[in-house]
Symmetry: C4
Subunit: 265 residues, 4 copies
């Protein structure tokens, strides 16, 4: 029994770098099914395709849920092989509530919920969670983990940049509301409404549905766009220095020799 | 008396890294009140909420002003504990006119002014200053000071980039005015009016309310957008090198020693 | 015969840095003809010019195709001088199916195809491939190869960033579809239709033909723009660190010696 | 005579770092007049101000031209003090045709030309050149020269990035023309007309006056925006590595000691 569990664990989990034999085939299959699922969810909402391929969509949905349910239960069974979740009960519980465990659950939950729910609008919104299956693909990339590590190292600075953006957004939108409210009372109707303008201006999206028309508003709008670019240069700068640090410590071992004693550092 | 003042100073000021006991509780309370204030200022302008929660908004405003006033007076009282503002009179005066002192004053001033002002339009404009309460939160972040330092170190280059942007804006808008004025005399009515287009083009916002329609104007418009991106790459580049420098000098001193012989490299 | 082939090879191929005499003249001529061709293809679609200069366009097209055909055949003849394509048959076949060989073929193929094709709409689309002649100019730049190498070194990370963008696009568009579909069923008609909004929002293009109007949709739209800027900061960061690495390893070897004692640092 | 010329040269030229006494006062005056001139040129085009302050604008224009003319003649007289322009005739001629000499000439030339020209439309266009007076301010900044040097060092890569952008613009616009021409023949009327869309899409300006409506066109439009961001990440990356190089060699002298012999490098 334990032997089968260990073999199965090695097939399911690919994170330790072994990509050969059954494990590789299984994981390629999984990636294919997840990709096809995402395409199905997206095309499902096109009325034309939905009517024409209704049967196909339902069958593929049913097959996917069965496949993902079996895989989910097997993963809970074998997760105790991992050092992190070794205990037969608490380990499994912790795996269920880990990020990847929850994503796997959210990928199958909407289907079972829809069997009992009568209110269809709830079901439609829950179907959305199936898109989380996409995140499972993130397990398979080496470069993804590198980006993840850089983002994690610079978490504090990135969160701060976001807070700075929100600060500036509130301040700019408040000033713009008082400047432009009299000229366009229907568009700049309140500060929250003006914040929609603020976001489109600071991120330089500029849909054009709302923009200042008074000279003072335009001056402020121009300054906002320039400040916005400056603010969004901050996260870029932070990420760049993060990548540079990462590369300096991980990719340049040959140069890291002490010039005094010649040994590697 | 002096003993109480010192204790109070330690509770109010958190900048020296001590985050424990009453000091921590007080500062968390302050951050919460400032955040709630910002939300109240923003929601206050939504007519629906303003009518329904008029009483609540007024009460919270009153409570906040009383709280901030007491805090402001206490800060003036205890500021002499700080080396920078040691003199009992000149020190306190300098604290009042320091940046954080002025921000604290601007956070409570509009309320008191509105009690005596009869002209309501002035009151509305003054309400704007309440948004300065947001700036007070900037005291509490470590990463904020890091970003602040990088920006301060690169101040000269960043100001120059801004001047370059303004230069290019004036030149581009002037040329565009002469090119496009004949085709769209109502939109490109003058150089200042064209500068609104110039800002939306160079920052790539592009609301679409004003854009060239002649072939020559479109050629110039395309070049402007490309130049704009180049110009805004400058502050990004400056900030990035600023972050890199900061990290090189502040984060890696311990690693710059050979682990074998211990000498600095 | 072999002697002529070698001489011709040296004239046609400039990649080995020899830029003198006939070789230089020939290559300048080639660049000029390619540039004029591109201009002709672009101006050909302007009805006014097409009617007025119909004869000129046709003559230049005919001359270019003859020129490019002769050049193409000569290149196939002389390519065996290159170490990579040494075999008289397999080498030539491999050259024909190499990237630069295919581009050269695609530049002349549409003309010959149009002689036999009766369906004119197919011919019009095939003419498009002539624009590939532009890529041939890429042979002549040193800096181009530097950029190419940096992009190639960072290929994995850049592809991953693109995948991340596509992931985020699908997720954001799916959520937006369920949020905004009820309010604007004609614009946010399906997830694929919403993805058009998603792309314009994440890349901050913001044409304004489609944008959220509900408060929840606007909140999500603002977050999307901010996330989009963050995601597009990733490739910038990756490319920057790529350029830094490139410069560190390729441009500074001579400077890494102490000028006093001559030892490497 | 030569003594006066040398003194005057020291007053007029500030580039050698001496910023004291009359020289400083004169240069501050010059910057002020240039700034006021730029404001006058911009405000001159606002009909309201032009009518009300017509006299003031003319008088200031007259004063500026007289001032700049005297300054221009004096600069030509004293330029021989500079090592670069030492010869009494050829040196002065070379100064007149140097970049700063030409800018100074273009700043006064339109006024004198307008005295003789009868066709007013020519005069209006020539007035544009007065904006070049703004460039004269570039003489006075230290940081400007730093940015200038980084841009000059990376000239080759920046030009190549621009060429790459133009390449991609032509290719993307050509494909888009064939894709979208049938659906919107009035907007995507020719490849040059489509290039206007191409520029607004690649620079992410997105005015919204022209955008694809067919599914294939939208797919291509989305890809164009993503490619555009990637392309514009290149110059950012190039500039950043330029700034980093500059700082590494110019700002870190204390660390540049040979670890073997301890001497500065």
């Amino acid at each position: 029994m334990h032997h089968y569990r260990r073999s199965l664990y090695r097939i399911l989990e690919i994170s330790n770098g072994r990509r050969q034999g059954i494990s590789l085939i299984f994981n390629l299959l999984l990636v294919t099914i997840i990709t096809l699922n995402s395409i199905a969810i997206v095309l499902h909402t096109v009325p034309e395709y939905n009517q024409r391929f209704a049967r196909l969509f339902y069958d593929f949905e049913f097959f996917s849920v069965v496949f993902f349910t079996i895989e989910y239960l097997l993963r809970i069974w074998v997760c105790v092989e991992n050092e992190l979740y070794r205990h037969w009960f608490w380990g499994r519980l912790r795996y269920i509530f880990s990020i990847s465990g929850l994503i796997d659950f959210l990928a199958i939950f909407p289907f079972y919920f829809s069997l009992f729910a009568t209110d269809l609008s709830i079901v439609r919104i829950l179907r959305l969670f199936r898109i989380f299956r996409l995140f499972r693909m993130s397990r398979y990339s080496h470069a993804f983990r590198m980006i993840q590590r850089v983002v994690a190292e610079k978490k504090e600075e990135l969160i701060l940049s976001t807070i700075l953006v929100i600060f500036m957004l509130i301040i700019v939108s408040s000033v713009m509301y008082y400047v432009e409210h009299a000229a366009q009372p229907d568009k700049f109707s309140s500060i929250p409404a003006t914040m929609w303008w603020g976001v489109t201006a600071m991120t330089t999206v500029g849909y054009g549905d709302i923009h200042p028309i008074t000279p003072l508003g335009k001056l402020l709008g121009g300054m906002t766009a320039i400040i916005g670019i400056g603010l969004f240069a901050l996260p870029t700068g932070i990420l760049v220095s993060g990548f540079n640090e990462h590369i300096r410590f991980h990719k340049t071992p040959l140069q890291n020799r002490c010039p005094h004693c010649g040994k590697e550092i």
